[in-house]
């Protein structure tokens, strides 16, 4: 007899056969009339400009990450809303604590300026060297003390 996982395996195999079967069948049955537009990214007529592999501004990542974090955290509100009536005040307080922590994170992001799109003054980090890194370039800084 098949185990539970065996069933999954059978399911996977059948799924693969279905997909492959469909593609193979269409490849055999369909007419072959290739022309250049068929290879375009957007067949609706939009002409792509340049390469898709370009550098995105790092700010997109920051915003995306922040969005992702808060988005996922807010998902917790849904199950909470479902059981809110059964738990009452306790649930309210618990969620309040949760939201406060979330808000602190939000405040941090805000104050640190990660929500500002246009940074008025780009900050160029000063190079502050650590001991192990300054071996080569900087003379050892020895605090001499009078005896």
């Amino acid at each position: 007899m098949l185990t539970e996982f065996g069933n999954v395996l059978v399911f996977l195999i059948i799924g693969a056969i279905f997909v492959a079967g469909g593609m193979i069948a269409s490849w055999i049955l369909r007419p072959h009339r290739p022309y250049p537009e068929k290879l375009a990214s957007y067949e609706c007529g939009e002409e792509p400009v340049g390469d898709a592999w370009v550098k995105f501004n790092i700010r997109f990542y920051v915003v995306a990450l922040i969005f992702l974090i808060f988005d996922v955290e807010v998902v917790f509100l849904f199950p909470w809303a479902l059981v809110y009536r059964q738990l009452g005040l306790f649930a309210f307080l618990e969620m309040a604590v949760f939201l406060v922590i979330l808000l602190i994170g939000f405040a941090y992001v805000w104050v640190k300026g990660d929500l500002d799109w246009d940074k008025p003054k780009p900050e160029i980090p000063k190079i502050e060297r650590r001991p192990s890194a300054m071996r080569a370039s900087v003379k050892p800084q020895v605090e001499s003390v009078t005896v």
């Binding site: 406060v100 602190i104 104050v111 000063k126 192990s132 890194a133 050892p140 020895v142 003390v145």
Partner: protein
């Protein structure tokens, strides 16, 4: 439900304190933007308070939050260990040039240290595999950032990146192992896993694969060979305070989890009842300790042999800490409480001697500007006191009496010989001879070589010396009067639900 949660919360005081401290630290950092030096004081106080709360948990033994976390002597022991390490690290930070020269980021530094401590507290008590992964992640995420804290230095950024990549890989492997184990037993709770393994027999190959994958996760945390690749780079690149914290607390928390997982998951409770305190019976005849024995031999041998060739002291200490993980694994291999007690004794001793060594490295790096072994030449004549302290820490790390390191080794070897793991004890003993060689290389540079360049004495302030004494005195004292640490270790091997 509510009552249960409230009760759990009352047993969760240290962790709650840390969470609140974390939030307050960040908020205070946002409000008091012009006084960044206040924040570490807040964080320090919070960790101190959490440690005090952890002390008050001593002796209790119960599961909280629907069996996700336990509060038992074993967990409390590791909480104390992690808490005291964090306290000492904060003291170090006062004199760390790396930290003090980046005051703008002091908020992140101290609050992330709190977060990391919180993660380790959770690691110490987690009994559910998912909780374990979450705790590991909390610790790891904080430590990734802290490892790259001095982001202006290229090696620090490199350290952080390497740490993330290796960390992600090993967590992935571990999760995969956990899912296989879940498939086999239908549980993520270690007690439930134990019950399931006791009730039905499982495919031994699948079990082996699952355990190997989980070991990858633990092995990464304790930097056991072959999961150690990140260690030297991270230890070298991270600020010394963070390196010291990782080398003691992170390792301790990893060990706490490893020991708990293996002991509870695979122990045969029926056999245990028959002879309490004796050798643990193993479910399914699965001898995981043999895997750990091989790992232990690899870890200490490779750690020691590679350390011999290092010229950067932080890197040398990184490899030495790998070797020490190997020694401590020996204590887990013997499958009895004596071995566990030996590991706990070793950790207490290791805390003082390893932190002490890193502290001296930090003080010297502040003045001399380098962590190279060559820059220690003639240090014994320029700064006798801290050089002598360094010698004490090093001979303690090498395991020579009359230092505490000897007691640690003594109990490990005693546990091994008592369980008749003679070959492993011999390997460990030979390894400690090898380790002496590279420790003595530093001692040689300090005392047997003349200073190069400046020969002026290097002076340190009184508080700096006081912190050094705080680590030096126990290292010597516990070498001669070790009753307290052994008694504490004996009392702390008890885990919730075992006997």
């Amino acid at each position: 439900m509510v009552e249960q949660t409230l009760h759990s919360l009352s047993q969760f005081l240290p962790e709650t304190t840390l969470t609140i401290t974390f939030c307050i630290s960040i908020l205070a950092g946002l409000i008091l933007r012009n006084k960044p030096k206040v924040i570490p004081v807040i964080s320090f106080a919070g960790i101190l308070l959490a440690t005090v709360f952890a002390v008050r948990q001593m002796g209790s033994s119960q599961a909280v939050f629907s069996g996700m976390i336990v509060v038992d002597p074993f967990a409390v022991f590791f909480k104390l260990l992690v808490g005291s390490t964090a306290v000492i690290i904060f003291l170090f930070s006062i004199y760390s040039q790396e930290v003090q020269s980046t005051l703008k980021r002091l908020v992140e530094y101290s609050s992330l240290l709190v977060a990391m401590t919180l993660g380790m507290f959770l690691m110490a008590g987690a009994v559910n595999l998912l909780m374990m992964v979450l705790a590991i992640e909390l610790t790891s995420l904080s430590s990734y950032i802290l490892a790259g804290y001095t982001k202006e230095a290229p090696d620090s950024s490199e350290a952080s990146l390497k740490y993330i990549i290796y960390g992600a890989l090993s967590t992935g492997l571990m999760l995969y192992g956990i899912s296989i184990l879940f498939g086999l037993t239908g549980a993520t709770d270690v007690y439930a896993i134990n019950r399931s393994l006791a009730a039905t027999s499982v495919n031994s190959v699948a079990l082996l694969i699952a355990v190997l994958l989980i070991i990858a996760g633990f092995g990464y945390k304790i930097s056991a060979v072959p999961f150690h690749f990140w260690t030297p780079d991270v230890y070298e690149g991270a600020p010394i305070t963070i390196t010291a914290f990782l080398s003691v607390a992170s390792k301790a928390a990893g060990f706490a989890m490893l020991i708990r997982f293996f002991k509870i998951s695979f122990i045969d409770f029926n056999l245990l009842a028959a002879h309490a305190g004796g050798v643990w019976g193993l479910l399914q005849g699965f001898e995981w300790n043999k895997i750990l024995a091989i790992l232990s031999v690899l870890t200490m041998t490779l750690g020691n042999l590679v350390a011999v060739w290092q010229n950067n002291l932080k890197r040398l200490l990184a490899y030495s800490s790998i070797a020490h993980a190997g020694y401590m694994l020996m204590g887990v291999v013997v499958l009895n409480d004596k071995g566990l007690a030996a590991v706990l004794v070793y950790f207490m001793v290791y805390l003082f001697m390893n932190l002490g060594a890193f502290y001296v490295v930090m003080l010297v790096a502040n003045k001399v500007g380098s962590e190279d072994i060559d820059s220690y030449k003639g240090l014994g004549y320029r700064s006798p006191f801290i050089s002598v302290a360094m010698v004490v820490f090093f001979i303690s790390l090498a395991g020579l009496p009359p230092t505490a390191g000897f007691i640690g080794k003594l109990f490990l070897f005693a546990a091994l010989l008592d369980a008749r793991w003679v070959w492993l004890a011999v390997v460990g003993a030979l390894n400690s001879v090898v380790s002496l060689y590279y420790y003595v290389r530093v001692v040689r540079n300090m005392f047997l070589r003349d200073p190069e360049g400046s020969t002026e004495p290097i002076r340190f302030s009184f508080p700096q010396m006081a912190i050094l004494l705080l680590l030096l005195v126990p290292t010597l004292l516990f070498g001669l009067f070790y009753s307290p640490i052994v008694e504490l270790a004996n009392a702390s091997v008890l885990m919730f639900g075992v006997r």
